[in-house]
Symmetry: C2
């Protein structure tokens, strides 16, 4: 951030009075520009024993498999965001959605929220951000071709929970490991 979105003058990174964090503050109108984490909402969509994955048509991780998910927009609920992303990326209609997995990713300022949901019919297809959409049995999950750690962790947790048919809401932290590339 270099300029004030309110008046167009330059900003400096300073600690506002009464605060303890550096913020971008306008040198002219004194507006403080806060920056906050974003929510990524998506669905773990199932059809009988199978789960739905999308092959990404965009970076990052072009060509890798993911659960349909994306940034929550202003004016919607997390559930609406998850269903919208599922429609946009997999053209999939779902029902019985329930909050399932939350991930904190503080190194990239994101909070993931995945809902479990049941596919309503088999009339799904790749949306603009997907190369392909497929249903996978547990034995056929492309574990080495998953786009993000959040996807693998959610799938593993789901297959575990499915054995007990009990799906409590869980929260996990995923943090940057020095020496590795930043993970998502």
């Amino acid at each position: 951030m270099k300029f004030c979105s309110h008046c167009g003058n330059s900003v400096s990174a300073r600690i506002p009075q009464g605060d303890d964090r550096q913020r971008y503050i306008c040198d002219h109108c004194d507006t403080v520009h806060y920056q906050n984490p974003r929510i990524v909402a998506g669905c773990l969509v199932t059809w009988e024993k199978q789960v739905l994955l999308c092959k990404r048509a965009i970076e990052p991780r072009h060509g890798f498999w993911t659960l349909p998910a994306g940034y929550m927009e202003n004016g919607e609920t997390t559930e609406q965001a998850a269903l919208r992303e599922t429609w946009e990326e997999a053209r999939a209609r779902v029902h019985q959605q329930q909050l399932y997995m939350l991930f904190n990713l503080p190194h990239i300022n994101q909070v993931y929220m995945f809902f479990r949901a049941q596919l309503s019919d088999l009339d799904f297809s790749a949306g603009e951000e997907s190369l392909d959409v497929q249903l996978f049995d547990e034995a056929d999950i492309p574990w080495n071709e998953l786009a993000f750690p959040t996807v693998g962790k959610t799938l593993r947790r789901y297959f575990d929970d499915r054995q007990q048919e009990h799906y409590p809401v869980r929260m996990e932290d995923i943090t940057y490991q020095p020496g590795n590339r930043p993970i998502r």
Copy 2:
């Protein structure tokens, strides 16, 4: 938003190519400025049968009682944010925190996340944003002087769940009711 925070030139509200929502886009450098919901994180702090409330020293709802909570910052987890706010507003140390209530407030672009937590000692006090901090028995909760609907709903749910000693994670939507003032 009137100016591009990247180059300082003016922005217009337009729908970017391949998008379906109006965004602020720079007329000069074409940067798209996305705006997304923010997370408010806080704690329902208990001590034996009592719950901890803070009397707000700031607007909105100056003088009304609230659970300690505030905007999650970049670089932290939701749990860290909830504990930080509990320290800042109530100077309270807690332990055994667990995710409890989530609220979607799409009319004000917020998602609330409350953790249940146990107070570690009675050495708490009003932080800068609080006029007072007190422990309340259920019978003494100032129901008509609570700052926000999220606070009352979380307290009611807690007193209900406490009877079964079972505290599942729950998500609720709180939406704007036309004719009323916007609620939080």
